[in-house]
Structures are given as structure tokens and as C-alpha cells.
Amino acid sequence: MERPVVVNELGAPLTPDANGHPPAPHDGQSGASTPPLIERPVIVEVLGPHGQVRTRTRLAALPAVIGRGYDSDVLIDDPHICPRHAELVRNDGGVLLLRDLGSVNGIGARTGGARPTSIALASGDRVQLGTVSLRVLELDHPVSAATPLAAAGSITSSILHPWRALAICAGAWLALALLSYQASTEGEAVVSAVQQSVYTFVAIAIWAGGWGLATRIVSHRFRVLSHAAWAAGLTIVMAVIVATDEWLDFLFPGAGMASLLTGMGAMLLLPLLVAGHLEIASGMSRSRRWRAAFVVGAVAAIFIVVISLGDDDSRYTQALDYSGRLKPLPAQMVPTVTLNDFMESVAELRDEVDALAEEDAPVTTPSDEPLPPAEPAAPAPDED
């Protein structure tokens, strides 16, 4: 963003202004002796604190008054703005100028130095007024090309529609219930499967509700259903990843891939989850959404690493970590090794635990220290 040029600091104001600066000797717009050569309309946007466009006004003729007063040409509803706050004019050179009309809070960023009385603006420049910003745009200001509807940039566009969102939620619920049913081994499987899926969905609903409230703060809608559909959809994707992981681990236990896919899936889906919710919630730009999403992903990753570092493995001497998932598949379709091969790979275990015993020394206790000479535990050969 280019900095607006503060004209009066340059020492050579192009036009006279309300504060009594002398007009240039051969030129004077407010004098109305020479009207502007060509009247060019201009667009004024009022931007919120996060850059979102609040209002957009097309001004057919300048000068135009900007302020909180109802007779303003550009009306800004902000307590820090004066009824007649500033004036937008165009000088003879065609340059747009924003002039302070003696406002309380002034124009431009508060730098602590001298308050600018007049700021020159090029098309697309932003200037601060109170807590909002103004952006002026000439009619020929370039605009970006239209985004195609099916673009990948809109990962959530399809679930913004309430009926589609509802359909996705219902589908996800059914899938979760089915998964719970297949995982249950009790007689009352259907009841417990429905219960399980209800618990999961209550959790999803609470999550979506939180995002809904956040959405309501930045826009005028809750979009809870879309948030729920997004979270439920990704839950199902995660379930599919976990299931794939289990099958791979069942078929190829020696490949050492146990939980690899699940871990990678979780690391990818978490930023995706956040990015999707942000897209549903706000008009945040794509790059900012992804930046936020990856910050969340990175924080989660750091959190997981810290937690796992805190987990002192050596304390769990009773825990056995092996992939014991069994899957319904005919024996001839399962890749196998011979008993000899298995016993060979087992031999490597010995080196592993020997290394553990060496490097991963137990927490030092006094018993691990050398014996003090005063109390020999071993018998001296010459006694008795």
C-alpha cells in the first residue's frame, strides 16, 4: 500500500484550503472562478478495521463532504467522525485531495507529529479516519478477473447451501453410526452405535456452534449448518484415513508405516478444517485464511510434540506397542513371510533393546552409583 502524500509537509500546497493556506498564484479551485475541466466520478469505499468494505459510494461530482452528518455525501457511522469531517476535492491537475474540515480526530494515521490538513490520494490509496479507513478508486481502477464457480479456492462453496449442508450432516451421521456398529461386539450393537454417533455429533454441533457465533460477529449470519457440515465431512475423511491406515498396517506390518498415514492426515486435515471454517465465516482473503490455518496447524503440531516429549516412554515398562488390528480377508489374500524370515527380523529387536538399555539410561538413583569404599558389598577373598 502506498503511503498517501502529505501535501502540506512538502511545503508547496497545490490548492488553497480551509485553514487559510495561500492559494497558488495562478490557480484556485475553491475560488470557483475556473471550474474543473472535466468532471470525473470517483468511488469512495469505507473499510472496517480488518479491511472489509462497509460501504461503497459513487460520487458523481466533487467536492464531496465526508462525515457523520446526514447531509454528508459519504456517510460514516462512527463516533470518532465529525458531522463534517473532511472534504474530497480534485485539483486542477486532476489529483484527488482529502482535506480536513477542522475535525476533532483529523485525517491520516496518528503519528504524533503535525496533523496533515490535506492528503493527496491516488486511485486505490487508503487513508485513516477515526477507526475506519477510506479508499478512493478512480473508475478505471483495475479489478481482478472473476473466480470461476468451481474453483478450488472455494472449498466450502457447495456447503454454504443449507440443504446441501443438511444432506452432508445426515450422510456423515449415517456413516459414523455404521462405523460404530461395525466396531461394536455386544448384542445391543444398534443402540450403542446410534448412541456413539450421537455423542460424536453433539461434539460436532458444539464445535460448529462456536464457529457460528464467530461468524455472527464478523458477518450477519450464523451459518451453523455449514460449519457442522464442514466439520462432519472432515470427520468422515479422517475416519477413512484411519481405516486405510489400519488396512495397510494389517497387510504390510513389516513396512513400519503404522499410524503414519493417520498422523499425516491429522496434520493436513487440521489446517484444512480451520481454513474451511474461516472461509464460511468471513470474507477473509484466501492467503490470510491459509496463513491462519497453518498457524493453527503449527501450534497443534508443537503442542503434540511438547506433549509427546513430556511422555517419558521409559516409564511405561508394561505397555506393548504392536499393531494388533485384524481384518476380515481370506488368508490367501494376505501377504505373508516365512517363519524363518520372521525369526530373522526378530533378531534385530535384540540390538534395539540393547541400545535402549545403553543410551536410555534409567533415572539415576543412588543405587546406580559406585559403592562407597566403607561398605563393600562383595566379600573380600582373604577373609573367613
Binding site: 505397555a319 506393548l320 494376505v334 505373508t336 535402549l356
Partner: protein, 430 residues
């Protein structure tokens, strides 16, 4: 099934067991007992291990003089001097109330014996010689139950236990915590064994006197030199003892049991005891049959670790109404379930975490999901705990999960036994 309780002298244990003990003095003793006590009482001592920091006793047991300043007791009475020597010291108190510091000379960790030395000068000592007795002969055990003072209790000699991994004499009398290491003598005052453990209700165990003789011989042999440490000695003894019995496990003449479509090994050696159970609930959509074999006795190393137990478990699952996915959810659960009895207790100071290797193995027309898990003893060189699990894959009608748990074995022995064991899993051809 019962688990043996060491006549442990750890005070916490003593306190916990206090109420269940039947006081030996409550019964009317035959005339001879008083005489036996009068003759031999001053040969028996109280041994306590003191934690240096707190100066409070952490273990209490008994022992007896055998001449040359030597005192015989249980290894588990003085184990802290071996495993945590810097923080502990031991002392004995004789019947005159004199206290002398003691020093460990030799241990036999497999048979739970130790020989310690002190400067005490007893009026008389036990002469240790081989003894032959008939079943039913009267025995007297002496010791300090619950630190209540020197006590004599009567019982009956019921001979050596048959089919056990670690030899013991069955003494039908009450041994209680604190009596560990005390002598069990016949009416003539000959030492028959050393009080060691109890299974409650007058079922008690003695270490046979021939193990004491062997240990004393080692102590008195001039060439017996000190090893680098008693811990290294303990590890060596445990490794050497295995060489005697590992070859007898899963030998060719092994017994087999038929579970569903499977023919499986059972009672891998005569010193295993086997049990079976079944869950057949009408409402459950499956049935489960369990078969379990164990050596039932362990070797005491320290309070932070138990070792020496071998066990074998088969669990057959029969599907009644579950679809293949649900049956496999059940089957996975059974395969992932590790019983407490499969994993010997051990503290992080004593062992490394487990590391496991998993493969799908095909052998003799049978496909198995096989797992081998291993952890190493940190303080006892060359010893490991191993857990071998296998599940038959490919069927949604029946499943079989089988587990072999080996504790305190060398890696070579674990490897050999795992192979022999997996080779024994077969279809039932009949």
C-alpha cells in the same frame, strides 16, 4: 490358582497380612516343642535391612548360625544390599539382644538363599548336613513373624514339590512374614530347609537343605573369589539355571490340546500347570474358550521386578451371530488385550520399555499374525522378558489368540522357544 507369597519381611507386606495370620502359639503344643526351642533358639537371629537415609528398617527377616561367623538367610531378606547397596546396610540381632553389622558373602538368587557374615559369637551353631525324612514327620520352624520376637511353630514335612521349576519342600505349617530365612528343623535339631514362602492356610515352603549345603561349599572353597558385583553373580546364576530347563520346553513329546479347528501345545514341560475355562453366555454373540499354563512360581530379584515365570495362554473365539467386520473388531480386541499375567511386573529402573516386531507369517498351511515383544533387564546382564503373541488370520467363524510369556530368559532362549512354539500351532486334522 494360587500365587505364592514370599514370607516377605517388607514391613508393608507384613502389616497387610497381619490379620490373616493364625497365631502359632494359640494351639496346644506337644511336650517336645519347648525342649526344641530351648536347645536351638539362640542359633536363630533377627536380620534387618536399614535404609541409610531414614535409619529405619525397610526389611525384616530371620537367619541362623552355621559356624565360622556365617549366617544363612533368604536372598530376598537382604536383596536390597545387592540391588541398592549404597543406600542400605544390614544388621543382625541375636537372642541376647546384641546387634552386629552383616556383610553379604554369597547369594543363590534362583533358590532364594544368601550367606552373610557377622562378628557375632553364638554359643552354638547348626551343623548343616544332608537330611532324609519320611513324609509326615514333625518339623519346627523358627523365626521372627511380624517382628513379634523369636517364635517356634510346628508343622509337618510333606516332601519336595514335584514338577516345579524351582525346588521347594512343602511344609504344612504356618509361616508368616518375618520368618523368612529362619531354619525349619526336625526333632533332632537337624536343619531340613529354610523358611521361604507361604500360600496361606498352613501351606508353606522351604528351600531344601541341599541347596544350603551347595552354597556353603561355594563360600568355603578357597578359590571362591569375589565377582565384580553380586548383581553380576545373580545374572550369571539366572542364565546358567535356564540351560537346564529350556531344552525340556516344547520338546517333541509335548502334549497337545484341541481347541475348535486347532491343535495346540499344552503343558510345554512337566513343571507347567494348566487350567481351562470357557465363557458361554447365551446373550453374547460369541463364545470364548481359554486354556492357560504357567510355571506358577517366580524368582525374587528385588521389590522393583519379578522374574522367572513362564506362561502360555490360548483363547479360542467362536462367532455365533457377528458379521465379519464386527467379529474382527472383537478378534482385534482379544489380540490387542495383554493380560497382567503375561507381563511381569517391573519398574522403569529395572527394565527398558518393550519393543515389538509384527509380521504376517505363513507356515504349514496356517497364516498367523505374529508378534514378538522384547525388553531388556537394565541391571542383570544378558536377561530379557519376551512376549510372543499370534492370531490365526483368514476366518470369520473362529479365531485363535495365543500368547507365550517368558520372563528372565536370554535372548537366544527366547528366540528358540518362540520358534518351537509357533511351529506347534497347527490345524486339527481329525
Amino acid at each position: 490358582m494360587h500365587s505364592l507369597t514370599r514370607v516377605a519381611c517388607v514391613l508393608a507386606v507384613a502389616a497387610a497380612l497381619g490379620n490373616t495370620a493364625r497365631p502359632a502359639g494359640a494351639q496346644q503344643l506337644p511336650v517336645g516343642t519347648a525342649e526344641v526351642f530351648r536347645r536351638h533358639a539362640d542359633r536363630v537371629v533377627r536380620i534387618q535391612v536399614v535404609e541409610s537415609g531414614s535409619a529405619a528398617k525397610s526389611t525384616l527377616g530371620s537367619g541362623f548360625f552355621v559356624g565360622d561367623g556365617l549366617v544363612v538367610t533368604n536372598y530376598h531378606v537382604i536383596s536390597r544390599l545387592v540391588t541398592d547397596s549404597a543406600r542400605h546396610r544390614a544388621e543382625l540381632t541375636d537372642t541376647r539382644g546384641e546387634t552386629h553389622p552383616v556383610r553379604v558373602l554369597a547369594i543363590d538368587v534362583v533358590h532364594d538363599l544368601a550367606v552373610v557374615h557377622s562378628d557375632a559369637s553364638p554359643r552354638s551353631t547348626f551343623d548343616i548336613k544332608p537330611v532324609e525324612l519320611d513324609q509326615g514327620e514333625r518339623l519346627y520352624a523358627l523365626g521372627h513373624p511380624h517382628d513379634l520376637g523369636l517364635t517356634i511353630t510346628e508343622g509337618t514335612y510333606n516332601g519336595p514339590l514335584k514338577y516345579v521349576l524351582y525346588p521347594k519342600i512343602l511344609f504344612s505349617g504356618s509361616l508368616n512374614p518375618g520368618m523368612s530365612g529362619g531354619p525349619a528343623i526336625d526333632t533332632g535339631g537337624r536343619v531340613v530347609g529354610v523358611n521361604v514362602s507361604t500360600a496361606g492356610n498352613e501351606i508353606s515352603f522351604l528351600v531344601p537343605v541341599d541347596r544350603v549345603i551347595a552354597l556353603l561349599e561355594r563360600v568355603r572353597r578357597p578359590e571362591t573369589s569375589a565377582r565384580s558385583s553380586l548383581l553380576a553373580e545373580a545374572a550369571l546364576q539366572l542364565r546358567a539355571y535356564q540351560d537346564g530347563y529350556i531344552a525340556r520346553i516344547f520338546s517333541d513329546s509335548i502334549k497337545r490340546v484341541t481347541l475348535g479347528r486347532f491343535s495346540l501345545p499344552t503343558e510345554p514341560a512337566p513343571f507347567f500347570k494348566c487350567w481351562a475355562d470357557a465363557d458361554r453366555d447365551e446373550e453374547d454373540p460369541y463364545e470364548s474358550v481359554q486354556h492357560f499354563c504357567s510355571t506358577d512360581d517366580h524368582v525374587f530379584i528385588s521389590g522393583e521386578q519379578s522374574t522367572g515365570l513362564l506362561s502360555l495362554t490360548h483363547e479360542l473365539l467362536i462367532n455365533k451371530t457377528l458379521n465379519p467386520f464386527r467379529f474382527h473388531a472383537l478378534y482385534s480386541g482379544a489380540f490387542q488385550n495383554v493380560l497382567g499375567s503375561d507381563v511381569p511386573f517391573a519398574d522403569a529402573h529395572a527394565v527398558t520399555p518393550y519393543k515389538c516386531e509384527t509380521r504376517n507369517v505363513r507356515r504349514a498351511e496356517i497364516s498367523l499374525r505374529a508378534v514378538f515383544c522384547l525388553r531388556k533387564y537394565r541391571k542383570l546382564e544378558g536377561l530379557y522378558d519376551a512376549l510372543i503373541k499370534a492370531a490365526v488370520i483368514g476366518s470369520s467363524e473362529t479365531g485363535l489368540v495365543t500368547t507365550l510369556s517368558l520372563s528372565g530368559v536370554t535372548f537366544e532362549n527366547a528366540h528358540v522357544l518362540a520358534r518351537r512354539y509357533l511351529e506347534q500351532i497347527a490345524w486339527n486334522d481329525q
